[in-house]
């Protein structure tokens, strides 16, 4: 088995939270490390490191992926949204506001992943059923609040977004 000591890099171009980014990365760089360490975006968290817990959830072309198990290479010429991209001009995204209003946050470690998963849910199902909410959030674990308030927050966010026509970002 040959392990090359010579490190080749890739020129990565992508859009992060609406801004064009160019960076040089190693092929083995994980998207989570790239975002946290190279771009300083610390909203996505490393926890289980095996795609189970959801704290590292980010949106890649609108679809939720685990930053801990996705190569940064995969983001080339694509769009990445992290939790930092949701607040516009100091105003919380309706999903973030609903999480606050419904007390769906306790320690907050899982929240950025939850909110981004809900963002992709509401993009596909603006008025989701409870089954659809659960199917989406099944892979985002919370170890302090329990899930009841989170379900409430999702329903409130859906309502607010429908009434204000707020679909993006």
């Amino acid at each position: 088995m040959i392990v090359s000591t010579e490190v080749k890099t890739i020129d990565l171009r992508l859009r992060v939270n609406g801004k064009e980014v160019a960076a040089s990365i190693e092929p083995c760089a994980l998207l989570l490390d790239f975002l946290r360490d190279q771009l300083g975006l610390k909203g996505a968290k490393r926890s289980c490191d095996v795609q189970v817990c959801g704290t590292c959830t980010i949106l890649l072309d609108g679809a939720p992926v685990s930053g801990c198990c996705t190569l940064a290479y995969e983001a080339h010429n694509r769009s990445v949204i992290t939790i930092e991209g949701l607040t516009q001009n100091g105003i919380l995204h309706p999903i973030q506001q609903a999480f606050l209003d419904a007390s769906a946050v306790q320690c907050g470690f899982c929240t950025s992943g939850m909110v981004l998963t809900v963002k992709s849910l509401l993009a596909q199902y603006p008025q989701p059923t409870t089954a659809q909410i659960k199917a989406y959030l099944d892979g985002n674990l919370c170890r302090c609040t329990g899930y009841w308030n989170i379900l409430t927050a999702v329903r409130q966010a859906a309502q607010v977004m429908a009434s204000t026509g707020a679909l993006s970002p």
Binding site: I10, V65, S66, T70, Y136, D138, G139
Partner: protein
């Protein structure tokens, strides 16, 4: 942390086969990466060269076969694509249903059906279901394309009949005829299931004229429970018949004690889940008007 590697981007299947042949043991196919990156991060394997076959066009297409008797599912189709495909929903609805239960949304978004089969994780949902479906796999390598029945594909724990230079192109799944009923029963306490059972029945005049029963997660590979299939054939559905078939499933488990449960518990689950799947499949088949 991942040890360094290079990523290669073949434009065609033959280019990818050439790369795999050239780098040999130093190369791995890289598709969704959901399984591969996990074991690479753990340091269980290291490949200095990853061949990214997602760059090959059309590898994720889901279409009807020319004979319109089978669905051809491109190996690069993600679980999410399989779940949401209207062709899959119409012709093999259970495959869509089972795809929706794999891992979590993020895994389904990136993981591919072909990668799942080639990794041969013993708890694979698609493997068990496709075994019940009687699927076959198209593989392309240095010696051309060959088709392998799924029953011959899984050779052991994480082992398949795929040769190192071969790429899985597509999975060919026979379309279920009207009068078929299928069911997938699963028990999970962790991310991966403890026991899974897939059943496909076909009924004619209230008699089961064909039955396929596959058992997963309770041995190194998914297995067909042929004895259960034999006693079901030619019979009227009923509790006693299903109990007898389920007993064969219990006997067919080749389980070990692990974090998912004891061997005895898994055998018990195999029996319970088989009984439930048979009841559900028979009810769906009895409805008779379309494929369930």
């Amino acid at each position: 942390m991942l040890a360094p590697f290079e990523i290669h981007e073949p434009a065609t299947v033959s280019e990818a086969v050439d790369m795999l042949t050239h780098y040999d043991e130093d190369a791995s196919i890289y598709a969704g990466g959901t399984e591969l990156l996990l074991i690479m991060k753990e340091g269980l394997v290291h490949y200095p060269h990853l061949v990214n076959i997602k760059t090959i066009p059309q590898m994720d297409a889901i279409r009807l076969g020319i004979d319109e008797q089978r669905l051809k599912i491109g190996a690069q189709a993600t679980h999410r694509q399989v779940e949401q495909s209207s062709l899959v929903q119409e012709h093999i609805p259970l495959l869509s249903e089972a795809a929706a239960q794999i891992g979590n949304l993020r895994v389904r978004t990136t993981g591919t059906i072909g990668g799942n089969l080639c990794f041969a994780e013993p708890h694979s949902d698609p493997a068990t279901l496709l075994l019940a479906c009687g699927a076959s796999l198209d593989l392309s390598g240095t010696n051309g394309v060959r088709t392998v029945p799924i029953e011959d594909f899984f050779t052991g724990l994480f082992e398949t009949a795929r040769k190192p230079d071969e790429i899985l192109l597509a999975i060919s799944v026979p379309i279920l005829p009207v009068g078929s009923g299928s069911a997938y029963s699963k028990f999970s306490i962790h991310a991966r299931p403890t026991a899974t059972v897939a059943v496909i029945l076909h009924m004619q005049d209230s008699i089961i004229d064909s039955a396929r029963v596959a058992l997963g997660s309770v041995g190194p590979t998914p297995v067909r429970v042929v004895q259960a299939e034999e006693i079901l054939r030619g019979e009227k559905p009923g509790d006693e018949l299903f109990a007898a078939a389920a007993a064969h499933a219990q006997a067919a488990t080749d389980a070990v004690d692990d974090i998912y449960g004891s061997a005895a518990y898994k055998a018990h689950l195999a029996q319970v889940l088989t009984q439930r799947a048979l009841e559900q499949a028979a009810t769906r088949a009895g409805a008779g008007d379309r494929v369930h």
